[in-house]
Symmetry: C2
Subunit: 321 residues, 2 copies
């Protein structure tokens, strides 16, 4: 029931994602969901968490919602991964309450794949922690490194700190303090990276607080859309442009495919004892298919188990920080 | 001497900007500058502030630099506006020391025009204050409102707070506190605006701290460049795309013109007793021409005087905050 286009697009995406090894189970009010998906298992969850509902309120009053129910299934081992396009804050609350934090993690974070020109990279935190401390950024860097290695298949991933200048002292208080921590803790740290290089691929893992990451991601997506829309507008304003536009259509399609948020679908909420995928709030069925496939890939690669293993070696760091 | 392409491009831009009512005066080592500009007045300033030099060091050791010299001329009333593509932090220090703050302003801020689709808007602070408090954001909103009214010619400009969700409680600690202040102080406040709408035009004045603003601006510019470059790459990879590319060239040129940072040149450093324009570090001669013209426009519209007048009515607000 989560997301701006629920339940129709979510259910349609789940049906389309069904494959060998992917068995979608839908959580939501049975009388609404089952008719849309006669061929899928539906677990009745009568409540719905609104997109703008406060996480604390949802945690108190909406434990019988699709969001909390689906997370509970992962916590109980009945499902391998939960995918939701719903309220991100409520998802974080549900993840913490129903799945639980990994012992060495103080703050779960969202790892979002970026469609960089040089090949994919990962932005972490893309929005779970609007206020974060330097030691949280260090944990995000570890989690992002594991994501990049396991899911993106990058050997010895580089880590950059998202800031507003390349020199260590450029940035705000948080980035200056985090810079020192990141440099001193066994990561392949390449220093500060600037926002202008996000889409080029400045580092395999780009670390920041959730406010900055979510902002950067939204500016990025909005700008891509705005540039492509403006381009189309300019083209159709002349006969010559229209014909040219038809001729470049295959090229434009290739570009749209790479840059379309629907292609990469969503990010992982990392740092929990189970796997959770946060899809875009306005996810289409196509985006939901991608998000479910992303989830399945995480299960295949045992992302949570690897996260637990590798972070346990870092417990000292995390706790001392 | 400031900027990545100094002195050649800066001097060339100054020469090209000369017009009725615009008399560029160049500050820099005379033996370097005068040969490049035999037709312009040069004031000898032997020192150079490096692009990565710490502002405090520059303030202590480089008072005879082109940057500090040009600001001093504005402070002394010998020049109407200073334009620099140099070190932004040093520019802020030079502005504070040589020009001085307006009495009702606690922190000067950079107001950068945004080439939004709906028409230009202004982002403030675009990078002067990496760490800011809610009351600073309120002052930025007042300054941005004056900029939008005087320079962009917008009647009763709307003010939005750059955050990661539309609801007042979405954001970090700073935006949540600033939201309440902005709502209660006589501005035409339209609430939070999201980064994805920056290039569409969500509000006439978009307010944020300097870290967030600089980040958003760099992501915006980098994404525009990256999308247009990728588009070109996709097109030239096929014969059909190449021909189509030729046909859409006029359309592409129109778009590039609107979105090219060189077109809008730079931003004002607002809140000082004199006018200062901060141009892009990698400004070309064309960008310098735009920056000088922006400066001239500010002088014509008496931006500083109007800022002083209108903010003096807000002194209570600024001081109580």
């Amino acid at each position: 029931m989560g997301g701006d286009r629920a339940p129709e697009e979510i259910v349609a995406g789940a049906r389309a994602a069904r494959a060998d090894g992917i068995v979608p189970v839908l959580y939501g009010p049975r009388e609404v969901i089952q008719p849309l998906a006669p061929d899928l298992e539906v677990v009745d969850a009568p409540q719905v968490v609104g997109m703008h509902e406060k996480p604390a309120d949802a945690a108190r009053e909406k434990r019988d919602s699709s969001l909390f129910g689906a997370c509970r299934a992962v916590g109980a081992g009945e499902a391998d991964v939960v995918v939701s396009a719903g309220n991100t804050g409520a998802m974080l609350a549900a993840g913490l309450l129903e799945i639980g934090r990994l012992p060495d993690v103080s703050r779960p974070a969202i790892a979002a794949p970026l469609p960089a020109r040089r090949g994919p990279s990962v932005l972490i935190d893309a929005g779970a922690n609007a206020d974060a401390r330097p030691e949280h950024l260090l944990q995000f860097a570890y989690m992002g490194t594991i994501f990049a290695a396991e899911i993106l298949g990058i050997d010895n991933p580089s880590v950059g700190l998202l800031s507003i200048g390349e020199e260590p002292e450029k940035g705000n208080r948080l980035t200056r303090e985090a810079h020192a921590l990141l440099a001193a803790n066994g990561l392949r740290f390449v220093g500060n990276v600037e926002g202008r290089l996000l889409l080029e691929g400045a580092a395999d893992v780009v670390v920041c607080d959730g406010f900055t990451g979510n902002m950067a991601l939204k500016v990025l997506e909005g700008t891509i859309r705005s540039v492509l829309d403006s381009f189309r507008e300019e083209m159709v304003s002349s006969r010559r442009g229209k014909i040219g536009g038809l001729m470049i259509r295959p090229a434009a399609r290739g570009l749209r495919r790479r840059l379309d948020p629907d292609t990469y679908g969503g990010g992982y909420l990392l740092g929990l004892k189970g796997l959770a995928v946060v899809a875009h709030g306005n996810s289409s069925r196509k985006a939901i298919v991608s998000a479910i496939q992303l989830g399945a890939r995480g299960v295949e690669h045992s992302v949570v188990e690897r996260m637990a293993e590798r972070l346990s070696g870092r417990a000292g760091v995390a706790q001392s920080a």
